[in-house]
Symmetry: C2
Subunit: 310 residues, 2 copies
Amino acid sequence: MSTHPERTEPTIVRTVAELKAAGRELLESAAAAGRTASLGLVPTMGALHEGHARLIAQARAENAVVVVTDFVNRLQFDDPADYERYPRVLEADLAVAGDAGADLVFVPEEREVYPDGRPRILLSAGTLGEKFEGASRPGHFDGMLTVVAKLLHYGMPDPATAAATGYRVYFGQKDAQQLAIVQRMVHDLDYPVEIRPVPIVRSAEGLALSSRNQFLSDAEAEAALVLSRSLFLMKERAEAHLPLAPDDALDMIASAPGVQLDYFEVVDPSTLEPLAFNCAETPFTGEALVLVAARIGSVRLIDNMPLRAD
Amino acid sequence: MSTHPERTEPTIVRTVAELKAAGRELLESAAAAGRTASLGLVPTMGALHEGHARLIAQARAENAVVVVTDFVNRLQFDDPADYERYPRVLEADLAVAGDAGADLVFVPEEREVYPDGRPRILLSAGTLGEKFEGASRPGHFDGMLTVVAKLLHYGMPDPATAAATGYRVYFGQKDAQQLAIVQRMVHDLDYPVEIRPVPIVRSAEGLALSSRNQFLSDAEAEAALVLSRSLFLMKERAEAHLPLAPDDALDMIASAPGVQLDYFEVVDPSTLEPLAFNCAETPFTGEALVLVAARIGSVRLIDNMPLRAD
């Protein structure tokens, strides 16, 4: 699939009707030009950083049409104050989205997405949404799934569009639990869409990019590196078919100054349940996911690492 | 839209892949023949009677391709014994579906719909699913919505199918709460589909058709007529712009031998909340829905009537 020959400003669309009309027009142009008329959707809550840019760039590389959605979803905030102070920086977002290759940026008013206020029918993430990040945020993943279910329908190519031949939706691996739950929704409810996970973007030292990193002091940023170091230790052991022995990683984290561990777990990537084998003693084989969350000063960070050894 | 020139046996499809392939082929044939390539989906749990036939016939009249789904959805039964004894009469269903004009009948094995057993991600009907029929059947409407969400995706025309130009899904008005909840799901989650409600089919005396009517004795069937009579009384008053005065209808039902009323309520058709005006004294205007449920001997029956007066 080609990249854009020339970077242009993305088009802002504000209503679902505009989004569908503009998406259809772009798909039809692509088909008319003999290209594979697929659409890539990148759902975001704005405040775009390099991690989002990677999502958009991958969507650009794989699809004729790229749509970024930029909407702060009230439904997934359990704390109204947190919702109110969530950054809204549309001008900066448009620059990031445009540089990364978005064609359309969907920036709806809240009443466009929730015309009747809180929806009466919601998605329920069940027990998958009650652990890890969901443990302290009741309703968060139900609210996330509900807006994703809506956004998937907004972006879905209309069958009346001749020759649309693919629909892919991009999520970052950084929010591993969100990704697992969305993949499960698409599987369980048979959404006709392909979910494309995009790897975490890290600083040169290994810190997973996050809009929250800006709140770390230099010393805290240094201390935070223990999170990715502990994950890379697990990855090395997995790929060497050694026992993961997570206690060593836990010791590393415990020895870092000012790092308060929330959780560090080795789980099944799709069910997020603890692995059935003894990580301390059994040589690693198969697939797993290591999840970590910690507070460093006043900043809470999450990170994770997929493990695989055949 | 034309009716079928000649009645043929419907094609049985057993997997989602077969359903999608067969649906696509029929849509493409219709488009090639210059017809409007729309698809009508009729979700059922089988045990088809004249009420279902009416749904299928309406889908036939409005669409180039008609798909009936015939699947007893374990997820919406709160009582496993009730699930086990639910009638499964595929041969008879095929005759009804074929006579009414179905092209395809989707008859999946349970493992096709629920390959991993109970889904982890469910739809939640919220408070709409907790009243009336939901009051005595916890989880019923969540399970119904979840399978409908899946079926809507199964039947959805593939954008790669050139010229598919409509997707309609048919539900009977008999199950008024189910219809209201499905309409709310499509609205709240923006399913790209049109829900088409189909009016209740009644016997000459007025009894709403139901597979349960066969369990009524002659005397019980006579007594059961009070339900539709009470509803038609409400309809006459609504259309005459009189107060509905539901106490009169309640008196009628109370005087019928062996009829144990469960509920009789005048509600808002979309929220199922009680009407905001005084039904006893205020002349009727606008829209409403009357819901009734009663036990007659060992048989529980439901019926309802939409009211409208401009």
